[in-house]
């Protein structure tokens, strides 16, 4: 049975269609990445899955429960963890008091174990928390009742790179324990690192659904190279995996989809003054691999 099953799920606010006939399944035990730029409809999908909003058309099942059946969905929520994007807390209570409250509502069998991994300052009032600490408190509450499925909206926003890496490792470990994870993200790199499969949403529509292994070869990196001297166009275009080259005084910018060793060999020929290798903007990925922009 699928942990999440979505069929023709549509949500419209008046004339604005937030999600348009989405259809996909999330299998038990997999880490599913829900990738899309801001405003694509990721959060709306999650709100529909949690029953906060009713679909305009179509249907969805979460852990077997129809999201339009409040009683069934409520039952399923015993086995569901949820981390909202930018989670909101009552700032006047301490982190410990918040976890006590959440624990009373849904259970807290793994609370201490999680607090060994993520350590928000529990004795302080939440209003004094940094963004990263709020996020860690949110992660602890999402997993502390040992759920079978965890839905997370942009879970690593606000975490520094070290904590992001620790969180990604944690998600992989949870997946190994059999937990199903659904996480939304606007960062291709994050999804590539932790997910088994990816659904890409854009303007409310699902434009791709594929295994991360397939996506990895296609995404490429954006390379921004500054050197002493100039870069010859021929030196770049002759290399496998280099595309979209644009030259400027003292450097070049290009997309690279090949092996890192080959890229390093290429760069060794230059006096590198500055180098940035990063995920390309999602819009570029769409353009490259899913055709032209579909709509203005």
């Amino acid at each position: 049975m699928s942990a999440i099953s979505v069929e023709g799920l549509t949500k419209a606010y008046g004339d604005v269609v937030a999600t348009d006939a989405l259809t996909f399944d999330v299998e038990e035990g997999e880490v599913f990445g829900y990738l899309g730029p801001n405003g694509a409809g990721k959060t709306t999908t999650i709100r529909l899955l949690l029953g906060f909003q009713s679909p305009s058309a179509g249907r969805a099942r979460v852990l077997g429960a129809d999201v339009s059946d409040p009683a069934a969905l409520r039952d399923a929520k015993r086995r569901l963890g949820y981390l909202p994007g930018d989670p909101a807390f009552d700032g006047s209570i301490t982190g410990a008091e918040f976890l006590d409250y959440q624990g009373a509502l849904k259970g807290e069998s793994r609370r201490e174990e999680l607090l060994d991994l993520f350590r928000p300052p529990l004795d302080r009032k939440i209003r004094e928390y940094s963004t990263g600490n709020r996020q860690m408190l949110g992660i602890v509450q999402a997993f502390m009742h040992d759920p079978d499925l965890v839905v997370m909206d942009e879970p690593t926003s606000g975490l520094d790179p070290v904590k992001q890496a620790r969180f990604h490792e944690f998600v992989r470990d949870e997946s190994d324990r059999g937990v199903t994870v659904f996480l939304s993200s606007h960062a291709l790199g994050e999804v590539q690192r932790v997910c088994d499969r990816v659904g890409i949403i854009r303007d409310g529509r699902l434009v791709a659904l594929e295994a991360v292994a397939d996506l990895r070869g296609r995404g490429g990196k954006r390379v921004d190279l500054h050197v002493d001297g100039d870069v010859e166009r021929d030196a770049l275009t002759g290399v496998d995996g280099v595309s979209d080259v644009s030259l400027f005084d003292g450097g070049a910018q290009f997309t690279y989809t090949g092996e890192y060793d080959a890229l390093l060999d290429l760069l060794a020929a230059y006096d590198v003054a500055d180098l940035t290798i990063e995920d390309p903007p999602l819009e570029d990925v769409f353009l490259r691999f899913y055709g032209e922009r579909e709509e203005p």
Partner: protein, 263 residues
């Protein structure tokens, strides 16, 4: 059960204590003031005749020259019925709308809790200020009255506070109905204030202007502190009507809240 009420109630305890201290202070002022007003020899009858009819009706000022009548008007009619009623409606206005506006509701509704249970438990937490104030203020009033050498029926003071509970709950239920409908806390809170104040006025004006039926839906009509304190008359039917109205408003709030989209 009642985890939400316990959590929310704890958060309201401090406010409830401060509110009660405020009420005790005001009650103390009135009680302390009474002997000097009585002694000053002000001709109350003449003073009352000079007041507009509507005002006299609104505050039952006809019996203001006894300690019972004085407290009924100044403390219970004005402070308790109007101000406390408005406060409860204001608080109730924020109950759901504040959680929705801040997004805090998401982490509660993601747990196996129905929206109706969430709503009712939040409402139940409003009992904290209502119960704390109604438990402590009557003790202060009876003690204060004895201290200034007057006497008042303890039973009637307890009665006037007891009967105020259904009235205050009705005010809260009005605020809650606005709260489930509004997306912004400030709008729901102000809406609660305006609704209770308007209903108070409607009842006042209606009874004064021969449009008696107009005030039939105003909670104020079913709670009369002066009847209890001065005449010893308890409007039990009125209290039951207020409780029934509260239940009706809660049912309506829950029915709407179960269906609405939460942004």
């Amino acid at each position: 059960m009642f985890e939400i009420t316990r959590h929310e109630g704890r958060a309201r305890l401090r406010g409830a204590v401060l509110l009660t201290v405020g009420f005790l202070f005001i009650a103390g002022l009135y009680v302390a003031l009474f002997p000097s007003i009585e002694q000053s020899g002000v001709d109350f009858t003449q003073y009352l005749d000079s007041l507009p009819e509507g005002f006299r009706a609104a505050f039952d000022v006809g019996r203001i020259n006894t300690i019972e009548g004085f407290l009924a008007v100044e403390l219970y009619q004005f402070i308790w019925t109007l101000l406390f009623g408005v406060y409860v409606a204001y608080s109730a206005g924020g109950l759901v709308a504040e959680d929705v506006e801040t997004g805090r509701i998401a982490l509660v509704l993601a747990t196996p809790v129905s929206r109706t249970r969430y709503l009712l438990e939040k409402f139940a937490a409003l009992l904290v200020p209502v119960v704390v104030a109604n438990a402590i203020v009557p003790v202060g009033v009876v003690a204060g009255v004895a201290l200034v050498g007057e006497s008042i029926s303890t039973v009637d003071v307890v009665g006037v506070h007891l009967l105020s509970v259904p009235y205050l709950l009705a005010c809260g239920a009005i605020g809650l109905l606005i709260s489930v409908w509004a997306d912004r806390a400030s709008i729901a809170q102000r809406g609660g204030i305006v609704a209770v104040f308007l209903l108070f006025l409607v009842e006042t004006v209606a009874s004064a202007a021969d449009y008696d039926w107009l005030g039939v839906l105003s909670p104020t009509r079913y709670y009369s502190p002066a009847d209890v304190l001065v005449d010893g008359t308890y409007d039990v039917a009125g209290a039951l009507f207020l409780l029934a109205g509260t239940v009706l408003l809660l049912v309506a709030s829950a029915a709407y809240f179960e269906r609405r989209d939460i942004p």
